[in-house]
Symmetry: D2
Subunit: 291 residues, 4 copies
Amino acid sequence: MASRPTPERSTAILLISCPDQPGIVAAISNFLFENSGNIFDVDQHVDPDENAFFMRIEWGVEDFGIERERISAAFTPLAEKFGMDWELHFSDVLPRVAIFVTRDNHCLYDLLSRYESGELLMEIPLVISNREDLRNAVERFDIPFHHIPITKENKAGQEKKEIALLRDNNCEMAILARYMQILSSQMCQAFPHKIINIHHSFLPAFPGARPYHSAFKRGVKIVGATSHYVTEDLDEGPIIAQGVTQVSHRDSVKAFIRKGRDLEQTVLSRAVWLHINRRTLVFGNRTVVFG
Amino acid sequence: MASRPTPERSTAILLISCPDQPGIVAAISNFLFENSGNIFDVDQHVDPDENAFFMRIEWGVEDFGIERERISAAFTPLAEKFGMDWELHFSDVLPRVAIFVTRDNHCLYDLLSRYESGELLMEIPLVISNREDLRNAVERFDIPFHHIPITKENKAGQEKKEIALLRDNNCEMAILARYMQILSSQMCQAFPHKIINIHHSFLPAFPGARPYHSAFKRGVKIVGATSHYVTEDLDEGPIIAQGVTQVSHRDSVKAFIRKGRDLEQTVLSRAVWLHINRRTLVFGNRTVVFG
Amino acid sequence: MASRPTPERSTAILLISCPDQPGIVAAISNFLFENSGNIFDVDQHVDPDENAFFMRIEWGVEDFGIERERISAAFTPLAEKFGMDWELHFSDVLPRVAIFVTRDNHCLYDLLSRYESGELLMEIPLVISNREDLRNAVERFDIPFHHIPITKENKAGQEKKEIALLRDNNCEMAILARYMQILSSQMCQAFPHKIINIHHSFLPAFPGARPYHSAFKRGVKIVGATSHYVTEDLDEGPIIAQGVTQVSHRDSVKAFIRKGRDLEQTVLSRAVWLHINRRTLVFGNRTVVFG
Amino acid sequence: MASRPTPERSTAILLISCPDQPGIVAAISNFLFENSGNIFDVDQHVDPDENAFFMRIEWGVEDFGIERERISAAFTPLAEKFGMDWELHFSDVLPRVAIFVTRDNHCLYDLLSRYESGELLMEIPLVISNREDLRNAVERFDIPFHHIPITKENKAGQEKKEIALLRDNNCEMAILARYMQILSSQMCQAFPHKIINIHHSFLPAFPGARPYHSAFKRGVKIVGATSHYVTEDLDEGPIIAQGVTQVSHRDSVKAFIRKGRDLEQTVLSRAVWLHINRRTLVFGNRTVVFG
């Protein structure tokens, strides 16, 4: 794993949200045009009901008229003029990501397989688990595995440890890959809109525990999975991606679980891909996804 | 509309549910075999957790060894031996169906188009509405239209009228094609598991009123529609069919509604097709669908 | 049908394609900004491999700084500077559309139902058919029905008649709603990228006649439908929309056809909606769909 | 990996196909009933056009009236009477499977993850590859990796080696997990309907090489993946499972490939699950899938 895959080209990515008003697009376009920005991709959205403007714009950083260290400063006046919330990212600065797991291996393997193939361009400095089950699976990939068991009594302290581990490893974000623990608010607040969870139902149907059992009991004909940002309200955070698949009376709860696993891993990996490619914006409790 | 489409062949259809035990299939098979039954279709299902057995079996009625009037009597001993709940239908006896509408025309037209083409083999002796909006649409098809307005005050009496109308027209069932009134329990009890509704969400998510608005507000990435049997618990009846479609941040509530309409009409018509082809069995609050 | 539904607001819509180069977005944005254009929706796309730029932009026409009659002239210099292919439409000028049918009614009814409800904002001055079967269905909606039978011998002449009918009725486009005749090149050339067809397979699989029979024979597990612009190469035109649904060994050819009908009508109506809302651009043999 | 997951219960599974005639179901039911067979699952299908009968029946082997070694002999007279093609399997005799790979790791990891979790109950005595790329990925799972490079010149000989390896390892079947070599007829004939491939398109659309590039060029709006039994006619074998996902003009060929990978691994693993659970029957060039 000495030489990890790298992005094809070095780009700068701006993610912008602000109140809508005439002239925003023209101003941003001119900013890039005047500095010889070679735009690779631009996507924008106006929510007329909320009078909100959203944009993702990606351009080549190497031949840009402003050095990468100075882009933020150069853009700030324009951002202030329009009251923008904004983030600037560079495609060649890979996000450092902690993965949390418990016992199920399918989401973990799916992430690791895409990580190894270079589809998910990120660093994984560590995996954290409240159980030992998946140590072997993780260490096979030469990734450090941290066993941090959680009980009601030690939860606050153990989470502090986890936050420290993420900070020490410069992780900007975390993925809960079927991590079977509810995060406390200290954890949620430490990484706001930076923790991605997969819930094994089509939210808002069947929040909480054992959704497949509930879905079976209700007699649904379709089951789903939902990937969302973790907030303090369990299973209520902004949704990034959802997937569904058909079931029938022939499917037992076990079959629901088996079919659902396919969804969970696919939906989670899609959400992670969107996030680390800086294609998601949170607005209120919804997301704008430049897919 | 003088000569309505008729089924290709005359068949008898048995729908059976009973506690599972060895020998059921052998007994039914022998019953048909000994009377020269030419089986066209058989489908069965065992729910091991509930120890329940379900079967749908369809055979030619014309060359069967027992006359159609005497099949019930001939089958009764076997049914009693195994404690069966059972129904016997004939494909050439078309179900008589009342359709309830309010203002939206898409489900109505979809049903009428399939009725006219012969895909939905049923009789529609009447359409009932609490508004006048769709009178013209219905009468174009030479189907009597009954305007029965409902207020909180007159509801009980008006529903009595509706029940009488259905009885007078020998309707065995009803379809709520975006009928914007909640049925009272007298109506539900008059036609148990014989009234099919379409709800414009992926139940159990977003029950009740304005589901597209709720779905939009929650920021879901997929919307759905659910067709179910009406019971006294609103939106809680056994689900027959569900469908879903993708939405994104680009979709306004209006777009949710527009995309949802495609689902509503398709899912409702599929549920109706399944029911009138005697392919559904209710078991507790779930359905077995021999699709 | 005296008062047909009208659009909510009067907008101007520009559809643009041109070689990509820096400054296009800035130029267009400035053009609108300087004339107080209130942008409702903008969507753009750059195809880096083809170096092609595509845009759809929609703004309010009532308070725009340029009168609607003069917008074209005012935009022309900018369009010429960037070598644009462009179209200007107004949402309150409803497209006039001819529908062609043969015998199947489902796509026809689906279109008429959406037309009547105002989902499809268009005028339908006439329906043309090579058979009489659907006359009644059409005339119910107070739309003139023209029976123009086609044989190998009379085809060229009859198509001339059809073209004349469309011209006389100021139809800018046509919809083939399961019209079972192959259009000759004179017809295709008369309305380039203005005739929308529905093909009852997932193209390019199963082009030509009897696709459901071929799909059944091949043993596929999913069937589809494809809506595309008609070109002289049968079933080879630019695809606008596709849909699919699952099938199994339990499904006969007849079931394939029945399930396929749901797709055909939904996919065709979606494609028509996209086209008449000026959300499609043809580029080579592909489409850009601002969905 | 010392203790691999085992099936929950020991069952016998009969897969039967034969010409349809009255009395088959009764005969089989009686055979099991008379020997105290506890049926867990039964599914059957009649293809009326082909006059063909198909059945899968699964029952408990431990309390069955006939010892497992003698079931075949006991069933043979009945099978001969009805001219059956039949197979008898036991759920606790895990199939031994060889996996073939080349360079892409996603299908491999998906299979290994499901193998490790016990979802895919099978033995994997070896992985074969024409390249070295995935050695490390395989050996991590303590599975022997065989590098057997193939050139036009050495193909016949190398395939002989592969067949010998499979025979030596008692492999009854093989999975081509994005194995980028066309099997010759000697290989196909050595394992008829026992080699499962994943093709990265919605067959029969885009057979052969580089299907995503072809799909992109054709401008499709949906891409697919197809898992099928390998026959001597490339990409023409009986289809077991298919999946699809939406694409748009925003998706480059690279995005088609990325989205397709999700399908490939899911569809392949589903097909393998169906096969090793003895839920597939080949009939002509189609499959009956008791899903």
